[in-house]
Amino acid sequence: MEKAIRKYWPVFVLPTLAAFLIGFVWPFLQGLYLSFCKFVTINNATFNGLKNYIFALTEADFLHSFGFTVLFTVVSSACINVAALAIALALTREIKGTNLFRSVFFMPNLIGGIVLGYIWNILLNCVLTLLGKPLMNLYAPYGFIGLLILMCWQQIGYMMIIYIAGLQSIPGDYLEAARIDGATERQIFWKVKLPNLMPSITICAFLTLTNGFKLFDQNLALTGGEPAHQTEMLALNIYQTFYGRSGPQWKGYGQAKAVLFCILVIAISMIQLRATRSKEVQQ
């Protein structure tokens, strides 16, 4: 059977592979090469060694956006996961209206990042105006908080669905046995539910961390990096380096930043998966 399938590779693999080569592999390799070049368009690239990387690593804006991204990702991941788990616990108690609540909390995930950004831009700036405070794109800490609220609003529902699925897959016998042994609700949560939820926690932590690092649309629409690049995250900083500046050197800098960003995201994904996989309970 394997031989028969193997013969048909042009039918089964070729369409995806060709698109994958055009849409991913070729641009990826070319991008890797161009990060060592000075260029405006792809055809006129001249090799200039590590200069782009040296510039990227010493640019204040880039380093600031790195710090901002790390801070935002850590804070937002913690908030989203704790809130999502709390709501998932509440929704698995078999109270009335569970389905309705679940649907409502999940709804923001279906709306695109740009639209979400504008919705919250209008709402939060109105709150700030009524309180007599500076707007989000004039005062960076408010921009940070606004982005945090927006991401919580969007992602809690998604993570909640994953936690609910995780909670429902815990065998009822475990909980019953714990209850018969006289465990309190708190003990059941910490000693039975949480260890059995580890796979879900791994997935959610991984998703929130990478979503935080890769965040672009919401950042662009909510504050656009204002004031003075202070709320600019890595993805937006790279975009601005490419398309927001003129001059022959900027595209190369942008590509070098993009490679650094890419390495960072891959490294986080690997570390994160390894760290939480080892804590999972063997069932």
Partner: protein, 308 residues
């Protein structure tokens, strides 16, 4: 159930109800603001419901639809989403079947590459991808090919692109390449659990690989097809940066997400009324689809996460 338990359940219900009101409020706020007159919308009054004086009816909606080509943007978004989705579902499930059933170094290498592509951020490929798409789109024309072959063609035919990656029809190929990672990964995860015997039986009964795949494997895959379809649709419909960079906007190609960005003029002037109307026009179809098949959507997300 004890009294204390009941009280606790009631408090939880009330808290959750309040939270859900807060959850839908932003969308509701956009809805009533989109019905206000342009002059009545400002950052300080976004919480006020429209009054008889500021009520504008559907003027903003008419404006949003007419002024910047909403209908064509809507059509292009639909074309891109549906075509890419069909391509991704069919091509990637076929590819995943090949990878799981053929035990060779290259299928392992392919699998690794696809998984790797899921992690790589779009910014890494952003510039090269958009300029490659542009170059292929404008240079791989009938005219150039005919010139190489020494055939002469008419001017109109010469301008037709063979691989128009920078149009809403060709961009689907880019999406197939870029969306393949997640799809192949999820399909492979599921296919490992399909018993081989079923397929072998089909083959022994005289089915070729193609018939086996479409008549036997694909029907078994249905739940995974739905999950992958939902995850990819959520991404395709809302994607902003890829179409923004790849589509040739000089020819008027854009998606709804790009259009909304256009209402924020270049000098800080925002056409708030039409912008909110276009936001609503973007959200309404999403909410209708959600109401119709929310069970599948929520199940699909949960299933996708377990495999992820």
């Amino acid at each position: 159930m004890t009294k204390r338990h009941q009280l606790k359940d009631r408090i939880t219900t009330v808290v959750l109800a309040l939270l859900s009101v807060a959850w839908v409020y932003p969308v509701f706020m956009i809805l009533f603001n989109s019905l206000k007159k342009e002059s009545a919308i400002s950052t300080g009054t976004a919480f006020e419901l429209p009054t008889a004086e500021s009520f504008a009816g559907f003027a903003n909606y008419a404006d949003a639809i007419q002024s910047k080509g909403f209908l064509s943007a809507f059509w292009y978004t639909l074309v891109i989403t549906v075509t890419s989705l069909v391509l991704i579902l069919i091509c990637c499930s076929m590819c995943a079947w090949f990878i799981t059933r053929v035990n060779a170094w290259y299928s392992k290498a392919l699998y690794f590459l696809f998984v790797f592509s899921m992690v790589v951020p779009f910014q890494m490929l952003m510039f090269t991808l958009s300029s490659t798409a542009d170059r292929i789109g404008s240079s791989a024309t009938v005219g150039n090919l005919a010139g190489k072959l020494g055939i002469s063609v008419s001017k109109a035919a010469a301008d037709i692109s063979l691989l128009p990656l920078n149009t809403p029809y060709g961009i689907c190929i880019v999406y197939l390449g870029f969306g393949a990672g997640l799809a192949v990964f999820m399909f492979c995860g599921f296919m490992k659990s399909i018993p081989l015997e079923v397929e072998e039986a089909a083959m022994i009964d005289g089915c070729g690989p193609i018939r086996t795949f479409f008549l036997v494997v694909l029907p078994i895959l249905k739940p995974t097809l739905i999950s992958v379809g939902i995850l990819e649709t959520m991404w395709l419909w809302n994607d902003y940066l890829l179409p923004y960079l790849v589509l040739d906007r000089t020819k008027g190609y854009m998606t709804i997400s790009i259009l909304i960005q256009y209402f924020r003029g270049s000098y800080g002037r925002v056409e708030m009324g039409p912008m909110m109307a276009s936001i609503m026009l973007n959200i309404i179809p999403i909410i209708i689809v959600y109401l119709l098949c929310q069970k599948h959507i929520i199940k699909g997300v949960a299933a996708g996460a377990v495999k992820g």
